[in-house]
């Protein structure tokens, strides 16, 4: 068994892993990326549509273009990359074992960065009754088939869920000559970005049916139809509104969940809402020296924010490996309150002099509101301008350290309407 020693070992070579690697390397750390696929880039390789990089590069790039800019940097900086290498286990003292064509590899890491991305929720996770015929795919799998493997999933599709991947796929299928009958969303509001509703559905005259869901999938060998029905405010199908739609393909775009098997094995605590690790403001998990960033930490809709988050994680991991990461014991918890579903980080240090980046999402749309952060009863942050909050948009706010210096109680983040 081969053993390697690195300051920073990065698990996953998607945009999070790439940015973390580059930034750790810039801190003079010895860095390795372990990636189970045969190439770097992660999910971006199948996201051939444009819409990446508006924040980081100020232009609209496709997924592969965005990835290639970082892959080039990784090559230029001589970062060690292990492809076709799947990490199987991480221990609390940062021994990482992985399997590749040559057998098992062993890594001793000064610090580990978790960057494994996320996976899609499947039919099982949402329990649609009916037959188990072929033709039901997650939107991401269909994307992979069409864009990377040149396979056509079917001829007429119904899409369940209005997440961005489902919207992007509605356009992609239409352009490839596959009919999309409609997109069905159980919630009374769409889940994807507004831009994608206009450019992927409206542009092609594809209807979006809100407060509607698939109640049954029919077809023993291959899907031949689905039954859809309107739902009430408790998301229960309303009798009498059922409608049968002929189709041979169903795409599910019903949410993403962080890939958390390895995180669990490493013994890091997981947040019940994000399903990703609990982290402090350094993006360090509760296991010292293990950091997390990107979709494995919490699901991001915009890759640019993955990049900035990962750059921070990479830098902090490199500092940790060199024993140079400042840490005090004065950590306070950050809680989500009211319409706020979760926050990242879950802990901050009020005494370290650094400003805090607080990220969160709301559970339901709010037409006009402001973000408010309190320490106990004391208000320490209030957003100036009221705006709309959507579950599909991640909020990022900077809390000045001076505002919370000396506070004892926990912080709570909420939105006031």
């Amino acid at each position: 068994m081969k053993t390697y020693k690195y300051d920073v070992v990065i698990v996953g070579g998607g945009p999070a892993g790439l940015a973390a690697a580059v930034s750790a390397k810039k801190q003079q750390a010895k860095v390795a990326i372990l990636e189970r696929n045969g190439e770097l880039g992660g999910i971006l390789e199948q996201c051939i549509h444009a819409g990446f990089g508006l924040h980081v590069f100020k232009e609209e790039l496709t997924g592969p273009e965005y990835a290639e800019r970082f892959i080039d940097q990784v090559e230029d900086l001589d970062i060690d990359v292990f492809l076709n290498t799947m990490v199987l286990d991480i221990t609390k003292d940062r021994h990482v074992s992985a399997i590749c064509g040559e057998g098992v590899l062993h890594f001793e890491a000064g610090a580990v960065v978790l960057a494994m991305g996320c996976r899609e929720r499947t039919r099982g996770a949402i329990r649609i009754p009916g037959d188990r015929g072929a033709g039901v795919f997650t939107a991401g799998i269909a994307q992979r088939y069409i864009n990377l493997e040149n396979m056509k999933p079917g001829t007429k599709a119904v899409i369940l869920g209005s997440g961005d991947i489902g919207l992007i796929m509605a356009r992609r299928l239409t352009l490839e000559g596959i009919e999309v009958e409609g997109v069905y969303e159980i919630m009374p509001y769409p889940n994807g970005l507004y831009r994608n509703i206009i450019n992927c559905l409206d542009d092609f005259g594809i209807p979006l049916h809100l407060s509607t869901t698939i109640t049954r999938i029919n077809g023993k060998d291959r899907v031949h139809s689905v039954e859809v029905a309107k739902v009430d405010e408790h998301r229960q199908p309303i009798p009498g509104t059922e409608r049968e739609i002929a189709c041979d393909t169903v795409l599910l775009s019903v949410g993403l969940i962080p890939e958390n098997e390895l995180s669990r094995k490493a013994g890091v605590a997981l947040d019940p809402v994000t399903k990703g690790p609990v982290v402090d403001e350094n993006l360090e998990t509760e296991v010292p020296g293990i950091f997390a960033c990107g979709n494995v930490l919490h699901v991001h809709d915009v890759v640019d924010y993955v990049t900035t988050e990962a750059e921070e994680a990479g830098e902090k991991a490199a500092l940790y490996a060199k024993n140079a990461l400042k840490k005090s014991d004065a950590s306070v918890a950050v809680h989500a309150e009211g319409p706020v579903r979760y926050t990242v980080p879950e802990f901050v240090d009020p005494e370290d002099g650094a400003d805090k980046k607080i990220k969160f999402r709301v559970g339901a749309p709010i037409e006009k509101g402001v973000t408010v952060i309190k320490a106990g009863e004391k208000e320490v942050y209030r957003e100036k301008k009221a705006h709309r909050f959507l579950p599909s948009n991640m909020e990022i706010h900077t809390l000045k350290c001076s505002a919370i210096a000396g506070v004892r109680g926990d912080l709570t983040v909420s939105v006031e309407e």
Binding site: I48, E60, G63, N147, N150, D202
Partner: protein, 121 residues
């Protein structure tokens, strides 16, 4: 009079615009944070343009590899189907570099279809 929903692509703010059209003219725009939203709404009404993305087949002999491609710049929506046809008719037989022009002046739009990725043979 009609109202048209639009998504401004001028900057990351992605303003949700509502344009009012009368006698074939955009007479009012709501939802824009800045003046550029008005300019966008006018051109979006006149001639909506989009970046077109798809894939092309690269025949390596051993197996077919998919090369992601894009229009170098946004092209008129009306030209999209023609451009898609031109893309699916083109097969590649050589390594490509990101940004390399693969179809010049696609569907007479004045815009090239370029590779979104470097693919070596």
């Amino acid at each position: 009079m009609k109202k048209i929903k639009m998504s401004c692509t001028t900057c990351p703010n992605s303003c949700e615009l509502l344009a009012t059209v009368e006698n074939d003219q955009v007479v009012a725009v709501e939802g824009n944070l800045c003046k550029r939203g008005v300019t966008f709404a006018e051109s979006e009404y006149r001639c909506p343009v989009r970046v077109l993305t798809s894939t092309m087949i690269l025949d390596t002999g051993a197996k077919a590899v998919m090369v992601p491609v894009r229009s170098a710049k946004p092209i008129p929506k009306a030209a999209m189907q023609d451009a898609m046809q031109a893309i699916s008719k083109t097969h590649l037989h050589h390594a490509v570099k990101m940004g390399e022009a693969l179809i010049k002046n696609v569907a007479d739009t004045g815009v090239d279809i370029v590779a979104s990725k470097t693919v070596l043979m």
